[in-house]
Subunit: 338 residues, 2 copies
C-alpha cells in the first residue's frame, strides 16, 4: 500500500473531484439572490431578505428505502425530487417558504453518474421552488453501503413572517379538515412494499405491468413525492394547521397539528383510495387500519380551516376537498375514521 | 401479513415512538432563547436575534466510516460529538457562530439504546456551543444498513455579521499561516485505517494496547473531533481565512481559503506528527504525501493572518503556532511542503 492507499481502500478522491464540478454547476442553476459566494466553501452563505420579522423553519428527512427501488431500477433523479418536496412540504406546514437546501449522499463507491442524476433531481425541484441548493456532502463509505445502494438526506431552511407562523393552536372543534391528493406513495411505506412484493429477492417484479396502475409496478412506485407549496401558498393566511401525511400515516401525523383535547374525524368515503394502495393491500393481505398507519392512502396533506373559510380556500385550491372535521376528545390529540 | 405488517417488514413504529420521547428530552436540554415552539413539529422554528445584519452560514457533513469503529466498539456517544464539532468548525471558517443543529440517523433496526447514545453526544456538544438541537430524523431502513451499522449526518446553521464574513479574499503573499492542533484523526481517513489494520475482518485489533498511543487502538481512533469555536472566536476579527483540515487533507482543504495565484507553504518541521498517524503510516507502508492527502497529521485548522497580527492572535490563542506562510504562485491555489 505504498501509494494510492486511499484509492485501494475504496475512497477515490479523484472521482470525488470530477463529480464535484458537475454537481457545482447543477447547484448554481438553482441560485437565488439570497445566495452569497459560491458553492464549495466550507460553509454556504445566505442572506434572508424581503421579510420584516422572519422566523426560520428547518427540517431534515431522508427518502427511506424508496432509494432501494430507485437503485434496482437504475434511476436516481426522481428521488432527488422526492427529498426536496418532502422537506419543503414539511416546513410549509408551519407556513414557511423554502430559502435554501443542502443534501447528503452516501454510497459505497462513488459513481459520478449516480451523483449527477441525484443532483439533477434535487436541482430541478429546487428551481421549481425558488429554493437555492447551496451545499451538500457526498460521502464514499466502502463497506457501509452495499451494491448500488445510495443514501440521500435533505435539509431545508425556510422562512415565515412571525405573525404568519401556522402551529395549529387556533384549531377548534367544528373546524373543517380539507385534504389534498398525493401523487403516489410519496416517500413512505417502501420497506413494507419491498416485502409484500418480494422486490429484494426478485427485482423483476418491478417490470411487471399492472393494468390497474396503467404502468409497471416500478414506475408507479417511483412517482415523485409532489410539492404542495404552489398549491397551498395562496391559502396560507386562512389555514390554521397542516399535517403532512408521511411516515406513520394518519395516526402519527394528523394529531401533530392538533391542540390537546381535540380529535380529527376523517370520513374515508370522501375520497377514492388510488389503485396502487389497493394493489399493495390485496397482495400483502394488510388490514385497512395498518394501511392507514403506513401509507398516505391518496391523501398527502390535511389542512384545518374555520368552517366559514372552506369556500374561500377551495376557490383558491380547487383540488382540496372536505375530508372530515375537528371534534372534541378526551386527552391527547387523535384521529378517528368514521 | 394480516396485522403488524410493517413491524414484520422491519420497521417498528412503536420503538420509534419510545426513542422519540428520550431524544426529545435530550434535545430540549440544548434549547437556547432563539428556539420557538417544541421539538417534534413538522418544522423546527428558530428566531435569529442579536445580529444587526446577519448572514446565515449552513453546512452538512457526515461522520464517515468512523461510525464503523464506533459500532464495533459498541459506543455511539462520541460520534455525536464528532459531527457537531465537524459541522460547527466548518461554518466557523466563515466567521459564523452556530445557532441550531439537526441530525439524521439511519440504521437497519431501530435501537433505542443506540439512538439515545448518539443523541447524548449530539446534545452534549451542542450545549457546549450554545447551539440548539432543534430537529432530526431517525430512519429505520432494513436491508439498507447492516448489522450494528449506523449512519449519522449533521446539519448546522450559524450566523455572522455581514461585515464579519471571513472568505479569504484579503489574503496576500507574505501573510502568516497559523496552525491549531487536532485531537486525533477527527472524522477523516477511517476507510484507510480500517483497511490498514484489517479492522473489519478482525475487530479485536481495536482492543490491542499500543504503548506509543498510551491507549488501545480503538480508544485512540474514537477520540472526538475537537471544537475550535471557543479557541478561535476571540481572534476572528484578525483572521483573514481559515481552512478546516478534513476529507482530502491539506491539498484539498488549504487551497479552499486562498485567492487565485497564491499558495500555502507549510513547514512540516514546525510540528510533531502525533504517534497515531505514524503508527498508521508504518503499519500501512503509506507515503508521507498520501498521509497528507488523507489525514490531518495533527493539524486540524489553519488560519491566515497578516504578519503584524501574529503576536496578537497568538496572545489570544496560545495553542496556535506559525506553520508557514502565503506565497505567490502561478495558477490555481495550492499547498506545498518545504
Amino acid at each position: 500500500m505504498a501509494t494510492d492507499a486511499y484509492r485501494q481502500a475504496g475512497v477515490d478522491r479523484g472521482a470525488a473531484g470530477s463529480a464535484k464540478d458537475r454537481i457545482f454547476n447543477l447547484a448554481r442553476s438553482t441560485f437565488t439572490p439570497g445566495v452569497l459566494g459560491d458553492i464549495g466553501a466550507f460553509g454556504a452563505l445566505y442572506k434572508v431578505t424581503g421579510y420584516r420579522d422572519p422566523v426560520l423553519v428547518a427540517h431534515t428527512d431522508g427518502v427511506g428505502t424508496k432509494l432501494r427501488v430507485a437503485s434496482l431500477m437504475g434511476r436516481y433523479d426522481t428521488v432527488g425530487e422526492d427529498i426536496v418536496h418532502h422537506c419543503t412540504n414539511d416546513i410549509l406546514t408551519c407556513g414557511a417558504q423554502p430559502l435554501f437546501f443542502l443534501d447528503y449522499m452516501g454510497m459505497g463507491a462513488l459513481s459520478t453518474d449516480k451523483v449527477e442524476q441525484l443532483v439533477e433531481g434535487l436541482a430541478r425541484a429546487c428551481r421549481g421552488l425558488d429554493c437555492a441548493l447551496i451545499g451538500g456532502e457526498t460521502a464514499e463509505m466502502p463497506g457501509m453501503y452495499h451494491g448500488e445502494d445510495v443514501e440521500l438526506v435533505g435539509f431545508v431552511v425556510g422562512a415565515v413572517e412571525s405573525e404568519g407562523v401556522i402551529d395549529g393552536s387556533s384549531i377548534r372543534a367544528g373546524d373543517a379538515l380539507l385534504a389534498l391528493p398525493s401523487s403516489g406513495l410519496h416517500t413512505n411505506g417502501y420497506s413494507l412494499v419491498r416485502r409484500v412484493f418480494g422486490i429484494d429477492d426478485n427485482p423483476a417484479v418491478l417490470d411487471a405491468h399492472h393494468d390497474e396502475l396503467g404502468a409497471t409496478l416500478g414506475a408507479a412506485l417511483l412517482v415523485p413525492h409532489r410539492s404542495y407549496v404552489a398549491a397551498l401558498t395562496p391559502a396560507l393566511d386562512r389555514i390554521k394547521g397542516m399535517a403532512h401525511i408521511t411516515g406513520g400515516g394518519f395516526p402519527e401525523n394528523v394529531p401533530r397539528m392538533l391542540p390537546e383535547r381535540l380529535s380529527a374525524r376523517l370520513e374515508p368515503e370522501t375520497w377514492t383510495v388510488p389503485p396502487l394502495f389497493r394493489l399493495i393491500q390485496r397482495t400483502g393481505g394488510i388490514s385497512e387500519d395498518e394501511m392507514r398507519r403506513v401509507f398516505n392512502m391518496g391523501v398527502g396533506m390535511i389542512v384545518a380551516v374555520a368552517p366559514e373559510d372552506v369556500a374561500g380556500v377551495r376557490a383558491g385550491v380547487p383540488e382540496a376537498f372536505v375530508v372530515g372535521e375537528v371534534a372534541d376528545a378526551a386527552g391527547r390529540p387523535q384521529v378517528t375514521f368514521s
